[in-house]
Symmetry: C2
Subunit: 126 residues, 2 copies
Amino acid sequence: MNVNFNNRDPVYLQIVRYFKEKIAIGELEPGEEIPSRRELANQMKVNPNTAQRAYKEMEEQGLIYTEKNHPSKITTDQNILGQVRNELLVEAVDVFVTSVRSINVPVEELLDLVRVKYTANDDKEA
Amino acid sequence: MNVNFNNRDPVYLQIVRYFKEKIAIGELEPGEEIPSRRELANQMKVNPNTAQRAYKEMEEQGLIYTEKNHPSKITTDQNILGQVRNELLVEAVDVFVTSVRSINVPVEELLDLVRVKYTANDDKEA
DNA sequence: ATAGGTGTATTATATGATTAATACACAATA
DNA sequence: TATTGTGTATTAATCATATAATACACCTAT
C-alpha cells in the first residue's frame, strides 16, 4: 500500500482517489473488506482522523458501507462501481482539455503528444 | 481582462498562468508593457501584493523585466518566449497522462475521449 | 467481566501557504 | 515642491488543512 502524496491536494482526498483507482481497475471487488480506519492510518503513516475523513467521504459517495463494529466494505452496487472508472476518466479529460484549450493547439498535435507520452513506458509494463 | 479564478490554486499562480497563455498565443508581444502591479490588482480585484508576487514570479522566470519606476514589460528573449507554449503543453499532457495511467485505459479510447471533448465546442469559435 | 478491536464525534492545536496591511525609496511631472 | 505613480520590502492576519487528544458506544473473544 504505497501512496505518493503530493502537497497540493488534501491528503484525505488523495486517499479517496487511491481507492477509486483500485475500484476502477477492479482491484477492489464488491463487498470486499478494506482496512479499518486505524489500520489504514498506520499503513499510510497518517493521522486516524484523516483516514476517518477519507472513509466518511467515500461513504457519502456510496463507495463503501459500514456495518456495526466491522471495517467498511466496498459497495456491491454495480451501478456505482461502474461509474467510478468513467468518472475518473471524464474528470481527467475535462481538466486536461480545459487547461489546454486556451493555448489554441491543433487537435492532431495534441493527440500526438498524448499518444507519445502515454505509450512511452509501455515496455515497462509489457 | 477577465480571469476565472478557482479556489484550489494560489491566485498569484493563476495570474502567472494567465500571462503565460497570452504569451503562448502571441497576444502579448516582446517588449510590450503590462499593467502596473496596482493597476492589475485593481482590474483583477486582487490584493496588490498578490499581483506583486505574480510579477516577481514572472520576473524570476525571465518572462518580464522591470526598469526603474516603469511598469514591467514582456521579455524580448525569443528563446524564453518560444518555450512558454511548449512548457504549458508538456505540463498539461504530463499531468493528464499521470492521472490517467493508473486507470489502465486503452490508448485509443483515451484519444477518442480527448478528441471528442476538445472538438466539442468548435462551432462556437468557427 | 474485561480487554481490545471496531466506527464515530468533538474540540483544540499546529502548521504552512496565501493574502492583507503598511511603509519605504525613487522618479516624473504638474 | 508636493502629489502621484512606479517597484519593493517587511510584518501581520487569515484560512484551510492536518494533526492531535479524548471520549463514547458497540461488539467479540479471551
